[in-house]
């Protein structure tokens, strides 16, 4: 099995210094479901000592977290020209 990190290594990105998705920290703390941890196809959400961390660098821009998150996270597409560059979409 190819790890998700290796698979993301095959994808070309131009990463903005500003994240385009921001989980709302205080809401994440009290969220019981934390679906972001498994529905994100890039596995970009991480739980460490009860806190949710998100890394926008490998974002595939699918929008699954936006639809699935019960707490309505802040979600935008990356700025023009930034983000993922698929070649075999």
């Amino acid at each position: 099995m190819e790890s998700i990190e290796n698979r993301l290594g095959l994808v070309s990105f131009t990463v903005d210094s500003e994240p385009h998705i921001r989980p709302k920290e205080e809401k994440c703390d009290s969220c019981n479901l934390k679906v972001c941890l498994y529905v994100c196809p890039a596995k970009l959400y991480r739980l460490e000592e009860g806190k949710i961390y998100f890394n926008h660098e490998g974002c595939l821009e699918c929008g699954t977290c936006r639809v699935a998150c019960p707490e309505d996270l802040e979600w935008e597409y990356p700025k023009g020209g930034f983000g993922v560059h698929y070649q075999f979409g």
Binding site: S3, E5, N6, L8, G9
Partner: protein, 292 residues
């Protein structure tokens, strides 16, 4: 016997190139600014003007009739090789890493696609190439060593107002047995002190990736390891906080053993490492210094 004509402004480059050509069976003619190994050598006063050198090489070439004209692939060498080739209406390949002759054609290797690949190109002789002299292992060869003085014709296409040697630290990267190479994983310039401490313990030279020397200017340019910088071949290279983009990786490929420390489990550097440490350099290096 096939004849080669060489120009290199540095004697060391000249000798590396001429030994390779001799090994391949060429009779080696050349122009240099100091004594160097060749069968027939023209020595002139140093001159760094492209138009003058082009004219000189044209003159010698007309006398010698070489099958292959070889320049050292320095900035000056590349500039002159192309101008010379155009004047003689010949093909020219610069930045050659390796060359082989087969009958009346020559095959060279050079980086392509920004260093992602190595292309092998074949062109028929006569031709012009510019060779990365440092990529050639010099060998012992015997030469006829016919030497004569030569006066380079003076051109005034452009006028030199001033020339200033770049200030360089004495850097022994190329000779070093142990090299520590740092990259953007280092958070600030002051943190280099930590690396220096480790380097002292190991008697190692410090090198870096392009951003550190060219963008942040934390270290002088001559410490940059990579495609456009130094290509090193130490026994041990310790890479710290280096992501391992190919443009850098080509500079360390001849290292015997590579250890890398990186926070990113899947940085491209991993493929280029014998031992890959996933962890925080700020925790590991002090511990390592204690253990050495």
């Amino acid at each position: 016997m096939m004849k080669a004509l060489v120009f290199a402004e540095k004697a060391d480059h000249f000798n590396r190139i001429s030994s390779k050509l001799k090994e391949m069976g060429f009779e080696v003619h050349g122009l240099s600014f100091a004594e160097a190994n060749a069968d027939h050598l023209y020595i002139s006063e140093p001159n760094y003007d492209y138009a003058s050198i082009t004219a000189a090489m044209e003159k010698i070439s007309d006398d010698v009739g070489p099958d292959l004209v070889v320049f050292s692939s320095t900035k000056l060498g590349k500039e002159v090789s192309a101008r010379f080739a155009q004047r003689k209406n010949l093909p020219c390949i610069t930045e050659c890493l390796n060359l082989e002759v087969e009958g009346s054609s020559i095959t060279v290797s050079r980086y392509s696609l920004g260093g992602k690949t190595i292309a092998k190109l074949r062109t028929s002789l006569p031709g012009v190439i510019a060779v990365v002299a440092d990529a050639i292992e010099p060998s012992e060869q015997s030469f006829q060593m016919n030497i004569q003085d030569f006066e380079i014709p003076v051109s005034n296409q452009i006028r030199t107002v001033s020339r200033e040697e770049k200030k360089r630290e004495a850097v022994g990267l190329r000779e070093a047995d142990v090299i520590i190479c740092i990259g953007r994983g280092l958070r600030k310039k002051e943190d280099i002190e930590l690396v220096k401490e480790l380097a002292e313990k190991l008697n190692a030279e410090i090198g870096c990736t392009r951003p550190l020397s060219h963008d942040y200017k934390w270290l002088p340019e001559e410490r940059m390891i990579g495609l456009s910088g130094e290509k090193v071949s130490p026994k041990l290279l310790i890479s710290i906080g280096v992501s391992g983009q190919i443009q850098h990786a080509v500079g360390i490929m001849n290292s015997k053993t590579v250890i890398a420390i990186n926070t990113d489990e899947n940085a491209p550097m991993r493929e280029h490492s014998d031992y890959y440490v996933v962890g925080d350099l700020y925790e590991i290096i002090p511990e390592l210094i204690r253990n050495l």
